[in-house]
Symmetry: D2
Subunit: 260 residues, 4 copies
C-alpha cells in the first residue's frame, strides 16, 4: 500500500520505484519469489523486503539501482502513459487550484484508466471520488489500479453516462476528462454546492470554447482557461540547456465556480 | 479559518474571496462593523456572516459580487504577489511531485512571507513544517499569514540560518526558496530519510547549476530540473486566443531524492 | 533613406536609432535645426550629420547615446507598436518561410500602418508589393511610413476591399493580416502562380480554423499553422534568467502553397 | 539553380520539393534518366522537366505528389537536420534582426554543413559571406551544398581558426555558430564597421553568459539574448490543437552592435 501511506521500510506488496538513471525507472512491487528483468540484468523483488526505502540494490550483473517509494506523480505517470493525455503537471495544477483537501466529495468523469482518479482520491481521502464512465472495461482497469494504490476505499466507480445526469448533490468539485464536457455543465451545476469548483481537461480548443460558452450561460463565475508547459533542463556542469524535445501540448484546463 | 477548513457557510472571521469579474477579486474576511471599499462602491463585511458561500452580494451602488471561499491558490497568490516570485503553478508542481500528504514532516527555508509555508502546511497537516529564516521580521509577517489561514499549529518557525545546519532528522522533504540553495545540500542530506525529497526553487540558472552539481556530489539521485509556463486563454465565442501578456519566467525547480 | 540602404555615414534625413540602454532606444532622423528631448536631456539632431554610424553622442546633460542605423526590425517595431499585433519575430518567420527575394511580386492585405508592407518591400525590391486596404486613412499613414523608409517606390497602395477580389495575376505570394482571411482564399488562389505561397496572420484560433478549412477546400497543399514565442534572457554575470514578463501571444501564422 | 532564382518552370537540374502530405516531402532535383524511390512508389525525375512548378505528378503506383520550388527554408531544413541544431526559425530571426540586404559583407563561423551559410548568402547576394571553419572536410560538404543552391559565387570558404583572428575589415555583421563564441568577440570588434552587428547561436546558457560578459567588456551595446519556440498547430475542422511533440530547445541567440 506504498502509494497511499508514507513508509520507511519496504514490505511485501509495497510499490518500489527502481531508479537506474535519469531516463530509466521501473515501477514494480516487492514480492516473494519474483524478479524484475531489465536491460541491466535482473533484480530479485523478494530480497528487497525489509530494506529501507532509499537503499541501493544490485542486479545479477552488478548494475546499481535505488529503491525509492513512488509518489502519486510516479504512479499516475506510469498509468497515464498508456491511455491518456493528462499529465502529472496538469493534475498538480488542478489539485492545487481546486484546493483539494481531506474529506472533500468530488465527482469525476470519465474514469479511463484511473490515473486522475488516483490523484484525486489521494488528496481527498478520507473523502470520496464518484467516478463515472460508460465503459465497464475501462472501470475494471481503473479498479485494479486503485486497488494497487490502496485508494479503492475512497472511490465509488459508476458505470454510467455522466452526460445523462449526476446522482450526487452538494459536492465540492466536478472534474472532467472526457470528449464532450459541455454536455455535463448543467448537471455539474446541480451537483455542486455554492462556490463549488468545475474543472475540465480537453485536448482541443473547440472543446474549450463550447464548454466556456456553456459555463457562462449556466451562470458559473471566475471562468479561467489555462495551458501549462513543462520544460526539462539538462544540467551538466558548464553546459546547462533545456532538453531538445518536449511535450508541446497535453490539453487545456478550464476552471469555474458556481455562484448561487 | 476558511482556508484550512472546507465550509459551506460564511462565519465571523471567515475568509471571503469577493469575485467581481475575471480581473477583479478581493480577498477579505467577514467581520462585524467593517466594510470593503472597491471601485464599484463599498460592501458590508458584516452582512455576509451567515450567508452560504457562492452567494451574491451587492455594493451600495448595486455592483454584484460573488462571495467565494478562497482556496490555498487564491491565498498564496495574494501573499506571494507582494514579496516573492514563486507562483501557485510552481507550488502545485512541487506539492504533487513531492507527494505531500497528511502527517509528513517537511523542512522549509526561507520562510519569506509564508506563502509557500502555507501551501506546504495545508497539505501535510496534521504533520509539521519546520520553516527557517534568518530574518525575524519576515517570520513575523509569515506568522500573521499562517495564523489567518488557520495553519500556524502545523508550522514551527525558526529564526536560524539554514546554511549552518538543519536540526531535524528523518524528514520527508526539504524545500528551499532561497538565494544559496547549494549551501544547504549537505544539511538536507543529513536531515532526510532514505528516499526523501529535495526541492529547490531558483530564479537564475546559475543557482540551478551550482545546486545540481552539489546534489550529484552528495549522492542524490533522480535529479530533475523543470520550468513551468502557465498561459491563460481568453475565450470569447468565435474569438479564442491566448492572453497577450504572460509571466515568462518565475523560476526553475530542482528535484532530487536521497539514496542511502 | 537609411532604412532602404546600408550606409556608413549619417546624412541629412537619415534615420538614427539612438541607443541609451537595453530598455531605451529612440528612432529619429538627423535634421538641421532640430533636437530630440529625452529623460536624459536633449540631443541635437543637427550635429549628428556627418558622423559615422556607431558614434557616441551626448545630451546637454552629458548622457551618452550610440547613434545606430536602424534595421527593418527596429523600424517596424516602432510602427507596429502603435496599431498592430504582428511582431518582428512573426515577420521574420514569414519572410524566410516564403523565401522572399529581390524581384518577387507580392499581394498584401490589409495595409494597416504599413509595418508589414515595409518588411515585405524591403526584401522583394526591386520587386513590388500590392497592398490592399479599404480604409484610405490607414493608407495615408502607411504611405508616410513607406516614404520615410525609402520603400514607397516598391509598393502599390490600393484602396480596395480584397475580399471582393485581387486584380493581380501570377504573383509569388499573398500575405494577409486582416480580420477575415478565409474570404480571400479563392481570390488568392486565382492570383497566385503555381506553387505560390499563401500566408496569413491571425490573433484568434477561430480565424485560423476557418482559413485552414477554406484552404483545403480550394486545393492548397502543405498547409502549416505555427505560433512563435520569443523569450528574452537577462544576462548578468552569475545571474542569468529569462525576463519575468513576456509577450505570450501575438498571433498564429497559416502557410499554404498552390498546387496546379 | 532553383534555390537562388525564382522560377516558374522546372528545368534540368532544378531543385524540386515533392510534397506528398503534411509529414512527407522529398527534396530532389529534376534530372534526366533518374527516378526517386518513395514509400508510395517511384517517380521519374526526368519527366518533370518542362512542367510548371505547382504541377501534380504521379508515382508508378498512382500516388499524387505536388512538385514545388523549394525555398531556402526547405533547403536548410534538409541540410540542418543532419548536422546542426540551428533551425530555420532561428535563421529567420537572425536575418531580419541583422537587417541582411543585398550587397552586405558578412563573416560567418563555423561553416559546418553550410546551412546557415546558404541562408546568409541568399539574402546578401550579390554581397559576400566569408565563412570560416578549421575543418576542411566540413567545408567540402558546405561547398557542395552551396554549389547545388547556386550560391557558391557569394561565399568565400576559409579553412581557418576564427578564434585566431578575422582577416576582413569593415564588415556589416559577424555571425557565429560555434562552441566558443566568446573567444571571437575581440576579433569581431575589429572586423565590424561602426554600428555593425554581432550575432551568435549557442545551445547552452553557459556559452551565452561568457559571450555576453565578453561583449560588454569589449564595449558592444544593445546586447540582447533571445530564445524562440516554434509550435505547430494541427487544424482539423472542429478539432484544433497544438502538436503533442515539439522541439523545446534549439539554442539561444545573442545579438549586439559595435559602438565606436
Amino acid at each position: 500500500m506504498a502509494l497511499r501511506d508514507q513508509e520507511d521500510v519496504i514490505r511485501e506488496g509495497s510499490f518500489v520505484l527502481l531508479y537506474l538513471d535519469g531516463r530509466r525507472k521501473y515501477l514494480t512491487r516487492a514480492e516473494k519469489g519474483r524478479a524484475l528483468h531489465t536491460h541491466k540484468g535482473f533484480l530479485s523483488l523478494d530480497s528487497m523486503i525489509g530494506l529501507k526505502y532509499g537503499s541501493k540494490v544490485k542486479s545479477n550483473i552488478g548494475a546499481e539501482f535505488v529503491a525509492l517509494q513512488p509518489t502519486p506523480w510516479d504512479f499516475v505517470l506510469k498509468i497515464a502513459r498508456k491511455t491518456q493525455v493528462i499529465y502529472p503537471k496538469d493534475m498538480a495544477l488542478m489539485i492545487f487550484k481546486l484546493g483539494l483537501r481531506p474529506g472533500m466529495r468530488v465527482v469525476e468523469a470519465g474514469t479511463g484508466s484511473g490515473a486522475l482518479t488516483c490523484a484525486l482520491a489521494f488528496f481527498v481521502r478520507p473523502g470520496v471520488v464518484y467516478s463515472y464512465d460508460v465503459n465497464p472495461s475501462f472501470q475494471e482497469v481503473a479498479r485494479k489500479n486503485l486497488e494497487r494504490a490502496g485508494l479503492l476505499d475512497y472511490v465509488v466507480l459508476k458505470v454510467k453516462d455522466v452526460t445523462q445526469g449526476i446522482d450526487e448533490e452538494d459536492v465540492d468539485a466536478v472534474v472532467l476528462d472526457m470528449a464532450t464536457p459541455w454536455l455535463v455543465v448543467p448537471h455539474a451545476w446541480r451537483a455542486l454546492k455554492g462556490g463549488g469548483h468545475f474543472a475540465s481537461f480537453s485536448p482541443t480548443i473547440n472543446q474549450v470554447e463550447k464548454t466556456a460558452v456553456e459555463l457562462r450561460k449556466q451562470g458559473f463565475v471566475d471562468i479561467k482557461v489555462y495551458e501549462l508547459f513543462l520544460r526539462e533542463i539538462k544540467v551538466e556542469e558548464g553546459a546547462v540547456r533545456p532538453e531538445t524535445l518536449m511535450i508541446g501540448h497535453t490539453g487545456y484546463m478550464t476552471f469555474a465556480r458556481k455562484a448561487l
